[in-house]
Symmetry: C2
């Protein structure tokens, strides 16, 4: 079945505000290191005032994945809601300039474009404080059925499972993709999302979702275990195809009784881990939609993730295709 897009993703349209921070700052603010949490406009203003100088870079989990897929030569489209403001213009510019088809009209007159205040500690770990803003105004009308049908994979981020309207948008995208015989993929996004929407996520995984991405903490939270191997085994039973990412330990792909373990790609320096999971998904999906064997898809994921760890910001800055080719040349 021919398709126009390899991957169409639905996600939060976010601009990241990245600042370095010491561990002591996180402690003083009572923010759990490495986590993602949702904050109100007032909390965002208060936290921003205390943060160091920032840099603004377009982000959003599924949007970062789209940028990675495009950087790897794939055709990607993104659906997400910015506002009609300067940061919305920045988001729209950056994703289009990355080669991603983005047409969702901006919200007008309401909340500003979503922002993620990211504190990066000296060890490269990122702690995310997200003000969703206009992301909450994404609704099912924004999901263009014709484009979903024209996409080999429809990819959803678990972060959307918070306000009602974006969930409706996801459910519509799933229904249209399934009716068209397309693949539905999703990421569990964060332990916070898994704990808040565990029943929904399990239903999706055992139902319409064909391919799921989770890191080991998310997998453990989903199956209420503290044991990674138990979580992987449970994932293999629940999902048709699943990938569990394990940071410096690489990734595990499970499909029924089959399992492949892939090591992490070498990293020259760990500067900012923001987007590592998003770029893993990008590399995997870029391989998957080209029909590459599953362990090769996972290698592409680890290589794409390794690039984004080496600099601030969650979108690729150097030649991902060359990096993937070099990785396969080493094998």
């Amino acid at each position: 079945m021919s398709h126009r897009y390899d991957v169409l993703a639905v996600g939060n349209a976010i601009v990241d505000v990245i600042a370095r921070a010491e561990e002591a700052f996180l402690e003083a603010e009572g923010i759990a290191k490495g986590s993602m949490r949702l904050i109100s406009a007032e909390e965002a203003t208060a936290l921003y005032a205390k943060m160091g100088p920032g840099r603004e870079v377009s982000g959003g989990s599924a949007a970062n994945s789209c940028a990675g897929i495009a950087a790897l030569g794939g055709q990607a489209a993104f659906i997400g809601r910015v506002s009609d403001d300067q940061l919305g213009a920045v988001f729209a510019h950056d994703i289009r300039a990355a080669g991603v088809d983005f047409r969702t009209p901006p919200a007008t007159g309401g909340r500003p474009t979503g922002q993620c205040l990211i504190l990066v500690t000296p060890d490269g770990q990122r702690t995310m404080n997200t003000y969703l803003g206009s992301c909450q105004e994404l609704d099912e009308d924004d999901v263009d059925e014709e484009r979903v049908r024209a996409s080999a994979v429809t990819y959803l981020e678990g972060y959307l499972w918070d306000p009602e309207a974006p969930i409706r948008a996801c459910r519509k995208a799933i229904a249209v993709a399934k009716a068209a015989g397309r693949t539905v993929a999703m990421t569990l996004s964060d332990v916070f999302c898994v704990e808040g929407h565990r029943a929904d996520f399990l239903e999706l995984l055992t139902g319409p979702v064909d391919l799921v991405f989770a890191n080991e903490n998310e997998a453990k939270a989903l199956f209420r275990t503290t044991d990674t191997e138990q979580a992987i085994a449970a994932m293999a039973r629940a999902a048709r195809l699943a990938v569990v990412t394990r940071s410096e330990k690489g990734a595990v792909v499970v499909e029924g009784h089959a399992r492949w373990d892939v090591p992490a790609a070498p990293v020259s320096r760990v500067l900012d881990t923001t987007g590592a999971g998003d770029l893993f998904a990008a590399g995997f999906l870029a391989g998957y939609t080209r029909g590459r064997p599953l362990p090769e898809c996972a290698v592409m994921g680890t290589v794409a993730a390794s690039e984004v760890i080496e600099h601030y910001g969650a979108r690729p800055e150097s030649d991902l295709v060359a990096r993937v080719e070099a990785a396969f040349a080493r094998v």
Copy 2:
């Protein structure tokens, strides 16, 4: 004479939009590599649409210098006009978070905050396309006389010599500083500025300005020579104290018949030269206001400049004090 600020700077309040670009892109757009040019709102919109994904980082020449002075432990204040918009909030946050006293109220309802679209080629050279926006609305009322009098050095950027209102602000700052027996410093900023305001700049240099910063191209343009040594000699005759920066060739300080040549500081990689001149001025002024000998001030300038070249963005990201200490330990 005691003072509250080591340096009070008046400059354009700009947010940089930094994107990588190939040489061919500059050629196709007819933009001279390495230059600074002023563009209209329409030109900015058209160029931005063609640029690659960007990162937004606070900039502005004198503002960058203030951030550097603060990073070196100095007391810095900045006067410049943002607009009451998201990028204006970014600029205000970043300069305050850098430890710089910034109080100029934002403009409301008019032009947006100034932006500099910076194209960085693979050799690390930066080409700047500046839309001044609300910077043009800086006026003499924004120059707080009490704060000028409380500053050891009042520092002005040549970039301000374009619209009438900012020039009035500069002239007021100069008059107040001189009346209070303070030091007035300025940077010639760009060949474009020198060529447009040559007579004004010569009058300032031979008149109220006590300390002038220029790179070798600006010095050559000012004295209409193609010979660097002739330009340096002319600078020594015209100015009371001058520093001519020469990129990888280091810097030359001239004061009357005295001259000191200082080599460039080692750089691990040349990623983005934006802000190198601004940080040179920061390092020099930080030393100068602490009464260090002139060649040591120049070494501090080269060290501060070397840090900012190694990453994208024109403000320091690592510990400048440690870097300066390491440089003096090597001597």
